[in-house]
């Protein structure tokens, strides 16, 4: 696993800032987040609930309610050389589902209850391919087979409520992948599923990634999942990206105290099975977006908090080689020479 498998980003996100108009004024849910997604890799995005993971991914797809959402002036989401954050609706429609696909957390409600599975798979193909009705049907069956749904010929005539949760998520994946997108954004695809099914779905996604060469942006609470399938990780906290690194780096040499705390809150190896599926808990609470602390956003919960952390917010800086972290006093620092060995 390297930092950048092909060293060719398919998606570049720069200074993404997403705010919402609410009754209480404007709330910024994602603040100046920049990252790349490289072809063929799996980027993990982790962070506590409410830190802006979903908003980040929906901003990329532009799925947020248009009239309530404001994107920052400098925000850029560059895909195929174009800044799609300023693209018009029609251009976005061509990209959605075709080039960038997305699957969601809740398989129970994410499928339309009044249309058959086949119809819903067919719909994506209809928008993005020129296949005939019969070809689309075949393709749909093929996709269902690919995601290991037994009896696909029969299943395409069924309604979502006739499928189990795991099957529905498989259908969602089939739907997302049927046009062979460049990027698949998976927003907590397994959170709502049983542990065993969870593992199956992750294996499936991993396998499909290899087969279809799709880059995956995997959003999750679950560091176990990250360890299992991701190449690189972005850690988010209160709307900010606070640390980047390869999976190994993040797990063995976390630099941000928050990442460290996250890791420490997981029960040690060996007890993995008994591990609670809830997100790791860290003492203290996430600051409200309406009421952020002045300095570092993590300062009130940070065990190593100093005066400087209260006064000024750290920039996202490479303290050591290609490991950007947003902290004044990062942990586990290595000098450049050390890491060269």
């Amino acid at each position: 696993m390297t930092n950048a498998p092909d060293a060719k980003p398919v998606l570049q996100v720069r200074h993404l800032t997403t705010s919402f108009r609410t009754d209480d004024g404007i709330v910024t849910a994602v603040d100046d987040v920049s990252f790349d997604v490289f072809a063929g890799e799996t980027l993990g995005v982790v962070g506590e609930s409410g830190c802006g993971k979903t908003v980040t991914s929906k901003s990329i797809m532009r799925l947020l309610p248009e009239h309530l959402t404001i994107y920052g002036e400098q925000s850029e989401v560059i895909f195929e050389g174009k800044n799609i954050i300023r693209a018009n609706e029609r251009e976005m429609r061509k990209i959605r589902g075709d080039k960038i696909a997305m699957i969601f957390q809740e398989p129970m409600t994410s499928l339309n209850p009044v249309f058959t599975v086949g119809w819903q798979l067919d719909e994506a193909l209809k928008y993005h391919t020129n296949l005939s009705r019969k070809q689309r049907r075949e393709k749909a069956i093929e996709m269902l087979r690919l995601v290991e749904i037994p009896n696909p010929e029969r299943r395409i005539h069924e309604y979502p409520h006739q499928l189990s949760g795991g099957m529905r998520q498989r259908v969602m994946i089939a739907m997302a992948l049927c046009c062979e997108p460049d990027i698949l954004i998976a927003d907590e695809p397994t959170t709502a599923l049983d542990v065993t099914i969870q593992a199956q779905i992750l294996d499936l996604m991993n396998g499909l990634k290899e087969k279809l060469h799709t880059a995956i942006m995997l959003i999750t609470h679950d560091l176990g999942v990250v360890a299992q399938v991701c190449d690189r990780v972005m850690v988010m906290y209160a709307g900010r990206a606070i640390e980047f690194g390869s999976v190994r780096e993040i797990f063995h040499e976390p630099q941000h105290p928050y990442t460290n705390a996250l890791l420490e809150s997981i029960p040690k190896r060996g007890s993995r099975r008994s591990r609670s599926r809830r997100l790791p808990t860290i003492p203290g609470i996430v600051p409200s977006l309406r009421n952020l602390p002045k300095g570092c956003r993590f300062n009130d919960r940070c065990p190593a908090c100093q005066q400087r952390c209260i006064d000024e917010e750290p920039e996202l800086i490479n303290h050591s080689l290609d490991r950007p972290v947003r902290c004044h006093f990062p942990l586990n620092q290595k000098t450049q020479t050390e890491s060269a060995h």
């Binding site: 797809m61 959605r96 589902g97 696909a101 969601f104 809740e106 339309n112 209850p113 009044v114 409520h161």
Partner: protein, 338 residues
């Protein structure tokens, strides 16, 4: 499917028995005969009417007898206030006028409200949506009666009074716009239209229909819009967007089919009013429909008519609820199998 229908039917039997019980009890809180005949009636008159109606029998006996009447749809008592007409005759004669007003107005208002609420939901949160919602609330805040009064004034009275060229509507009254033939089914004469005089309908029914539509507009639009908004918050909408579906596709295909479930329920819920007719419209425009007959009977203490009308209305209401459930099952695949 059939077992589903049968289950629904069986479930509603106790409800209907309850309705009849309640209606009969409520109508007997006061002595109907004394109420009808007034203070100057002789004892002999009172006794005779009481016996004719069987009101001197114990309540459970009356209850049983009346239920039996309903089962056979046999209401052959004479009306008290309208001498010489049986309750059944009154019922049958009142249906066509009611229907010629309520059917068009339910259909038209459902259709228009659906279109308006789709527009509103499409532009949700924008000026056009807020304007529509505002007007819907304004419209709902005015009394039905005021709509009728001014509807008649501007629609019929003013044009006639000022001798405008365009005076299509009568101020009030009713004339049949079809001749009705009767089909005899199970001993009941079912009327069906036969030979149509459309100008009569325009003259006597169209204005009440327009008023009825305008009144319903506020309520329906708001309800439909709320349904659409509810649906547009659902996850499957985002999934459809993520697939690359266009906004019209999402609204008219994904959302509308889901929204149809509560909307059908609502339209079906108005079905019994097809029969009651719009009581107010009928009273004000002097249209001899079901609603008018019922209210006239209530005012005139016409006991047999009241009792039969309420029971039949409730029966139709319950049948339409069952029909709603069946339609529901047809639209919503989730209900179908369970």
């Amino acid at each position: 499917m059939w077992s589903y229908i049968v289950r629904k039917l069986v479930y509603n039997v106790p409800v209907y028995l309850g309705i009849i019980l309640l209606t009969m009890a409520a109508l007997r809180v006061r002595d109907p005969v004394a109420g009808y005949l007034g203070k100057n009636a002789t004892q002999e008159q009172i006794d005779r009417l009481t016996q004719d109606m069987g009101l001197d029998r114990p309540f459970y006996e009356q209850y049983g007898k009346f239920l039996w009447q309903i089962v056979r749809l046999d209401f052959s008592e004479e009306s008290w206030a309208q001498r010489g007409r049986t309750v059944k005759q009154i019922l049958i004669d009142a249906i066509p006028p009611s229907m010629s007003i309520t059917v068009p107005s339910v259909v038209a208002s459902a259709f228009i409200a659906l279109v308006v609420s789709l527009i509103s939901a499409y532009f949700r949160g924008r000026l056009i949506d807020r304007t529509l919602v505002f007007f819907a609330v304004l419209g709902m805040s005015i009394s039905y009666l005021v709509y009728i009064i001014f509807g008649q004034f501007f629609g019929a009275f003013l044009p006639l009074h000022q001798q405008w060229e365009f005076t299509p509507f009568a101020i009030q009254g009713y004339e049949a716009w079809t001749s009705w033939s009767h089909l005899s089914v199970l001993g009941l004469n079912i009327p069906y239209p036969n030979g149509i005089k459309f100008e009569n309908w325009i003259e006597y029914c169209m204005l009440p229909v327009i008023i009825g539509v305008i009144v319903a507009m506020g309520y329906d639009t708001r309800f439909y819009r709320a349904v659409m908004v509810e649906e547009s918050n659902k996850d499957y909408i985002v999934t459809a967007m993520a697939k690359g579906a266009s906004k019209p596709k999402i609204m008219f295909v994904h959302m509308l089919k889901n929204a149809m479930i509560p909307i059908i329920t609502r339209i079906m819920a108005t079905l019994p009013f097809l029969i009651t007719g719009s009581i107010l419209l009928e009273m004000y425009f002097n249209i001899p429909g079901m609603g008018r007959e019922l209210i006239t009977a209530l005012i005139a203490n016409d006991f047999p008519v009241i009792q039969a009308f309420v029971s039949v209305l409730a029966l139709l209401f319950i049948l339409s609820i069952i029909l709603t459930d069946v339609l529901y099952a047809l639209v919503d695949p989730r209900v179908r199998l369970s």
